[in-house]
Subunit: 199 residues, 2 copies
DNA sequence: TTTTATTTTGATTGATTGATCAGTTTTTAT
DNA sequence: ATAAAAACTGATCAATCAATCAAAATAAAA
């Protein structure tokens, strides 16, 4: 029963990670301490150190958890579509929608990516193979295959991918108190403008 | 002689701000301490507290210094152009070029904007009237006036402005070890794609 | 049941931080 | 020249932090 043996540990780990996400969202990385996470998770700092090898390890696991969540959400929508145009529109739509509905997740992810650094002092957001990078690969793949299938015309796929990523990122700066209509409106208009670039 | 009276103070303030920019670039916000800034500026922590009311005040002044620098650099190029197409292309070109040549400035600016919060715990990058916002206003103004003069066709100026801003921001993720050619290439291609959206 | 392994607590430690302040030097004004 | 104001130093302080650890509680295995 090797599985059951670690069930408690895994559940506790996820509980701590979820608490970390809340604290990161509420206080920002600089004001996120293990004791704040511990009290949010209704446990002790010692337990965090027991399940994770340190604060950095906790942040790495939290980042992985968040990136995986986002990636799964977007991939699912993309795979439902048959055409590359459909896949691309789904990528944009879900990328923006995710930032509207799962705002706290993206907020926490940004706090980590902009503050944690490798042992060589390189910020995560400069690291080539960070977890977010997988979504880039997916996006560029859609663009290139769409060109090969003649659905899209000729353009630099890397540059257009960056423009799309930038537009999705900036949806975070949309006013959040309003309802979803603003996000949907932004999403529709971004899609229209992207089509102008690639068709 | 009211002017001379404050010359030393102003010079010292700028010296400390420049040291802060270097430390922010090298260590990131979380590892930026007053003592690190003091030793980089070859002075003492006490002096920083003498010239600034605290760490937050220093960061605010540094942010202002950086935003002013960038704004002046872009505005200068934009104002040289006569047509709105010219102004828009200049905005994009200088926005991207600035991120290539003054990388340390933008790096420090991002460290501040993503970490400092208002007394109400609102992150700076969520504050409506942050210093960066002035560039937005300029960009939207170019787009709207370009439409009014029939240089541009019909589109949502706020959305297109966001797409452009996103593309400029992401130029920071271009590999930096290479020479400027990558930035220029990216710049040219972004401009072409933007023209597809607005013409 | 007894033994062993896993999980949890909370107090403690050593290090670092931003800020303060008494005292010194330098500049400016009279 | 003298007084006053401004600029500056460096030691010190209280607060906070991540990490540690001995001891206790709980669960699993024998």
């Amino acid at each position: 029963m090797k599985n059951k043996q670690y069930l408690i540990a895994d559940a506790r780990k996820e509980q701590i990670i979820k608490a970390a996400i809340e604290v990161l969202r509420d206080y920002g990385y600089i004001n996120t301490s293990l004791s704040k996470i511990a009290s949010k998770a209704k446990t002790s700092t010692g337990l965090i150190s027991y399940h994770f090898s340190g604060k950095e390890d906790l942040m790495n696991n939290t980042l992985l958890y968040l990136a995986e969540h986002e990636k799964a959400s977007i991939k699912e929508k993309v795979e439902k579509e048959q055409t590359y145009t459909g896949k691309l529109m789904a990528f944009i739509e879900e990328g923006i929608a995710y930032r509207g509905t799962k705002r706290e997740n993206i907020t926490a992810l940004l706090e980590i990516v902009f503050n944690v650094r490798t042992p060589n002092n390189v910020p995560y957001f400069r690291v080539e193979m960070n977890p977010e990078e997988e979504l880039n690969v997916l996006l560029e793949e859609i663009l290139i295959k769409g060109q090969q299938s003649k659905e899209f015309n000729d353009f630099d796929s890397k540059v257009v991918a960056m423009i799309i990523r930038g537009a999705i990122s900036l949806s975070m700066s949309l006013p959040q108190n309003e309802n979803d209509v603003r996000f949907e409106d932004y999403s529709e208009k971004v899609k229209k403008n992207v089509l102008k670039m690639i068709k």
